[in-house]
Symmetry: C2
Subunit: 220 residues, 2 copies
């Protein structure tokens, strides 16, 4: 009985996620669902990305946290539209929570919507919110055994950003092992090695985003 309840919840969520997706597609909006462990650098990546691309792209952000509005406040300083969702205990965002933010945005005047999920390497991978792609961050401080131990998120993601490479001299972590093990799980994964602190390696990520937005604009 427990299993069928879980399945019902996932199916109901998929239905809402599909409706969200249709609305995003109608508006030519590119949407990513950004996931990672707590503190891997999701909000820092968004701050850097907004600074680099706000002249080229009209960006909006949804911030998901169990509680607090610290992340939305950090983003709001950049002067772009942002909505904070507090899940009040729930360990991931779902389609319904995203739908509830729609009246706060004008999608016709946006190119890119980033949904920053709750910090959690497990549960967010199971729930669609209407995104084009899931994107994940893994920090080198978390260690190189994470693809083996949390395979679903690596499997579901289109892009993996390996972050905090400025700390590589001080931690026991092989980026090569992360790359190899991730690609075994998901051979189509696009991987960038970056430092959101120094900015190293972020150019490739910016170019990937711009290209994906252009594809959607062309189809609008």
């Amino acid at each position: 009985m427990k299993v069928s309840v879980v399945r019902d919840i996932l199916e109901a969520n998929d239905r809402i996620a599909r409706q969200n997706r249709e609305l995003f597609t109608e508006n030519g909006l590119f949407v990513i669902n950004l996931m990672s462990s707590p503190g891997a650098g999701k909000t820092s990546l968004l701050e850097k990305t907004i600074d680099a691309l706000h002249d080229d792209l009209r960006i909006g952000i949804i911030e998901g946290d169990i509680q607090s509005s610290q992340d939305a406040e950090r983003i709001a300083k950049k002067g772009i539209p942002v909505v904070q969702i507090n899940t009040g205990g729930a360990c991931h965002l779902d389609g319904n929570m995203i739908r509830d933010t729609f009246e706060e945005f004008n999608f016709k005047e946006m190119d890119l919507l980033v949904v920053e999920n709750v910090g959690n390497l497990v549960c967010p991978a199971e729930f669609r919110v209407g995104e084009d792609f899931k994107v994940m961050i893994l920090s080198v401080t978390e260690g190189d055994d994470k693809p083996d131990k949390y395979p679903l998120m690596f499997h579901e993601s289109k892009v993996l950003l390996i972050n905090k490479i400025d700390l590589l001299p001080y931690v026991d972590c092989s980026v090569e092992k992360i790359r190899d093990d991730s690609l075994k799980i998901n051979p189509d994964l696009t991987i960038f090695q970056v430092s959101c602190k120094t900015g190293e390696g972020l150019e490739g990520w910016y170019n990937w985003l711009k290209k994906e937005v252009e594809v959607r604009e062309a189809g609008r």
Copy 2:
């Protein structure tokens, strides 16, 4: 309806956790439920703790992971009893999973059982497994905003180990802010600042463990 199903699951789990707890108490066994984000240093802490205390305490370990047995293999090298639980997708351990490991242990010949939970700063805090105390690790690389953003785990824990303090010169993290914000959520929290890499600060943690075990031995 969803809410009542969730409540049923939590109540059923609490019942099993209480039964586990009774069995542990009968055997004078001290049991901790060790929780953190992925890669914060749970297994490294256990390796150090076993090296330091295996002459004084008879230790057993339960390793929880979604998949892989890497952690149990690391612990098995120390020559102490260890059982790996693979949750197969589930984001936390529960009382039932722990009960299923009992035939692998001889509790009469153990002083301390450590249950290493799935790496997740959210869900494990909601589920008892029969432990005396929950103990959590926060790595300084995760940032000092974590007590505000993930309060339940800080609220439920008896001990907070602030790990990877050897990396403090290279990250933007205030240990003082972590301490202050954690104690606001949970004034009874015992806090140790440690590096599982260099061993700094671990003496206090070892002494705390030995003292708690002594209390249970006295009541046996």
